[in-house]
Symmetry: C3
Subunit: 428 residues, 3 copies
Amino acid sequence: MTAAVLANNLWVLLCGLFVFMMTIAVGLLEVGELGERVVGSLVKTILITGLAVLVMAIVGFNTAFAPTVGGIIGNPLYGPGLFLGGFSPGIADSWWSVTGAGLRTGTYFLFETAFASVTLALVGVVALHKMKLSAFAIYSVVYLALIWALPAAWIWNPSGWLAKLGMVDFAGGLVVHGAAGAAGLGIVWQIWREEKARGLKVSTPVPYRVNPGWLTLAILLLWVGWFGFNPGSVLAFNDEAIVVVETTFVAAAAAMVSTSITSYLLTSEIFNPLYVVNGILMGLIVITPLAGFVSPGSALILGLLCGPLFVYAEKFVGRAKFMSDPVGLFPGHLAGGIFGVLMIAFFAQNQFAAGSGFPTLPNGVFFGGGGAALKQLGIEILGIGVSVVVVFVLSHLTVRVLAALMRGITTSYADEVETKTGMPAPLV
Amino acid sequence: MTAAVLANNLWVLLCGLFVFMMTIAVGLLEVGELGERVVGSLVKTILITGLAVLVMAIVGFNTAFAPTVGGIIGNPLYGPGLFLGGFSPGIADSWWSVTGAGLRTGTYFLFETAFASVTLALVGVVALHKMKLSAFAIYSVVYLALIWALPAAWIWNPSGWLAKLGMVDFAGGLVVHGAAGAAGLGIVWQIWREEKARGLKVSTPVPYRVNPGWLTLAILLLWVGWFGFNPGSVLAFNDEAIVVVETTFVAAAAAMVSTSITSYLLTSEIFNPLYVVNGILMGLIVITPLAGFVSPGSALILGLLCGPLFVYAEKFVGRAKFMSDPVGLFPGHLAGGIFGVLMIAFFAQNQFAAGSGFPTLPNGVFFGGGGAALKQLGIEILGIGVSVVVVFVLSHLTVRVLAALMRGITTSYADEVETKTGMPAPLV
Amino acid sequence: MTAAVLANNLWVLLCGLFVFMMTIAVGLLEVGELGERVVGSLVKTILITGLAVLVMAIVGFNTAFAPTVGGIIGNPLYGPGLFLGGFSPGIADSWWSVTGAGLRTGTYFLFETAFASVTLALVGVVALHKMKLSAFAIYSVVYLALIWALPAAWIWNPSGWLAKLGMVDFAGGLVVHGAAGAAGLGIVWQIWREEKARGLKVSTPVPYRVNPGWLTLAILLLWVGWFGFNPGSVLAFNDEAIVVVETTFVAAAAAMVSTSITSYLLTSEIFNPLYVVNGILMGLIVITPLAGFVSPGSALILGLLCGPLFVYAEKFVGRAKFMSDPVGLFPGHLAGGIFGVLMIAFFAQNQFAAGSGFPTLPNGVFFGGGGAALKQLGIEILGIGVSVVVVFVLSHLTVRVLAALMRGITTSYADEVETKTGMPAPLV
């Protein structure tokens, strides 16, 4: 390997490892917000981590990243990806779509598998205390093999139909955060249907029981994970990858301050740990789809916008009576992710995008992009619309089928049993 | 340094850091399985970490990795390893046995010290609640300077007698896991002798008190650590190192699923956190000795074999009345490590082994190895037999001497004191 | 980028990430020593992390590292550092003072920001349970923009007046640890003034409530962080960076053993977790200012000196009635940091210093440095004296102003509220 190929593989592999840690960090976040004895959170995220590696190694890496069938889905039988090449992989071969940077199949596999895994972990936050873990495990297999793969195949796979239209989504404002929100909505709706059938008027809220140690550890691991998530998404170790470290960290920090101040102005409570932590997360989510396209100065502005965005999104979403969203999937990931994708058309600067591998992305509206920027906005909106609808529908259909097979997906007594015994309730 | 030497040192150094974290992760695993207030677990693993660095820096790195005296033990007075070169190390020199990859002494030292440390941490799981910490500290010094060094000098040191016979053990199925099991057996036997002398009929079991947060964090750190453990054991950053990421992660994931299903079939309890976590560990242990010799396809098969292997090994071992093995050293590390070493003769493929630095390793039985594979099996069995016996005997002799000097190595009241006060009991 | 520039940026960026984790690890250390429900510890360190990134990105990186105005302070308006270059940074440009290694602005920014952040976290340990968090947040902005920057601009910035005199401080014995102690003293004095005004005769001690899990995790993260802290401070990935891994780890291990034995000889209590952990920290602190200038042999000796140093420093400091220092800022960081800086003049060896970028540093007294070493000692003492006084005065003035504006900086009831509710007390 040349020096550049060595550096690219080393970088993306290590970034993949940092992202890999985020799935379990999501479990720790739940525990940090909802109480220490949430066994289900932890078993769930360990399970997701393992299932993601297994399903992606067998077929999911192909359905997302193999050369697509008509731009719609990766060829599941593509040799280098099927069982990771089986008994005779080409160990010195780069994966077809990242040969420019010389990324080996194993490097790219670990990186993207970690993304699929953490997306599913985000979907899973709405399952907490409410959905049978066995149902969620089966859902996970479908999700990893098919549902996650579709937006990835359309947007991140260069042979996908949206990628060919010119849609970009740097590190997954839509492919990860938006899609997780849409998939979660598909589950929440089914939970609400079952709760309504049991006579409930409002979806039972899961109470907050802040555990500061786990909450802190979760935010630390998530921030470290995002060091892999965004800078690694350049898929090479070059000058732009270093700029992405700046844009990512600055947006997170600015959003923390902005969210703290916004919540202080509204509630006169200052430094509520939930807002401090969610502020950081909101900054990281919003910058994700454009971290590789913007300057540090723009990242600062985008971070400052996050405070009002999160606080109002939370207020608005919090009113929906059918919502079972204990750790803020919808106001945070769905709203934040989509907002970030839309901002591409306003804040992008071609000089940065070129370093991330998108030399044809036009400047945004604020940087003289004009008509080209508005056209880009249209493409992004199209991609958001199609992806959100398809993911929502497939996710909901999956849980409907599971509900029919398993006499419902919800479990109303898990939490009580768990709290009493410290061991998971019977989950079948 | 050339690009390749830079990449090799950077890779092995970072992998060493990840492995370094595993010692303390073993302490967190104990806490996760046996209860949160186990101060002794944590002090023990911090102590092991520090002692490992110190003893290895003074002499242990030499006894394992310096040019051997007659193939038996590394020369303790070899200049570059004694006190790490003292006041005038050759700072630009590679360690003699890894000059091919250009690994500097400091790089190789950190990596192997982390291995010695985590091996001792595994031995130490049987000491929990039962062995005086002061006795274990003295045992640790002997272990690091001598007992750990012997299999390492024989198998991993190219001048060792087993290495010269052709024995291989990629990342330590025998040198780490098997040897830890054998050493632990030497301690457990002495604990049982003292318990019998106090009139006990059965070794007092240490009760499970699952703490899901620490258990989850432990498995996360161990999995991340194994990213260093196996891929780093190529001792270079090359194409094969990336394949080892695949084999390691796939085996872990497959074993998690296989163990969960096996335990469900036997107990109809699903997603017990202890089985989910132990499944992952079992996959990682079994793949360790051959991760650098096999394809991703074989890793998947090996992972699937782990479920039945672990569940039955645990059942079998659990019957022994003299066993004090709260977190599964014997069914997990001893059985799993040795099983993995034996599988080398069945699953190895020369094309992978060559990338790991073993171009003469024959294909396994399943890949047409025939007679050469059977000969390899014989060599591996010989190495296992000699290593397990020698380590067991030396470990047991060490604790016998300590027991004579300290009026026994067991402490019957530590746990109670600790539980009440939250501070360690007097341990002298 | 050339192979060396790739390796240098990759190394320093990753080391920066490890150091970045240390700020929050300090919060976990507080929780590990003082009790699990200390919400304030965690909110405080998350807040510091975010503020550090934001303030450094806007101006603090410049005040410390831009070309200085007369050797006193970095030019706050230096283009590449102001808002990290704003909307059009030179993304392929190295920062002016580290062009030799080719470190990009983003690389150097992340690394040094992590240092500023963890220094402030150390200052913040004295604020625990006593200082209003809102006052500490405002203090933090002043600290990051000005107080931290001054010693950094004088010593680490090659255009600083102390650097030009020949003062060296490898990874921050004075710039980080000594300065944190001096700044903390400025706060503690004000706390004591307010406590006295309330009629107290002795500063209320904060009681120890060891939580072994968090304490262990904290020491693990801090040790891993120090892998970035010291070896990264070579600001390049070269042979010397690998030697610094050796000196750092060996000093920590030797200090752990030395502190355990010293405390055993004095109290006949062995393996007190607080001493084991503080021993490791003391070794890491003492080696910090000279890790890149000494041999592994010298590091071992320096580590062994730490036990008596820490135990006596703690005894001496513990007597001061005005001290509010729950986790040992003064005996550990202030005394240890300054001791380490002084040892430069005794243990330095030019062959190592050259690899760290200081080819003109003379050998120490113990290595034949003679008059040149004594002259170096004088320079170091001068730098310590000026830095400690200036930082102390500025820190104290800042809290005096804040006390005038906010009717005192102390809060006497925060802890009680926090303990009862598990949520932070009103801190405005």
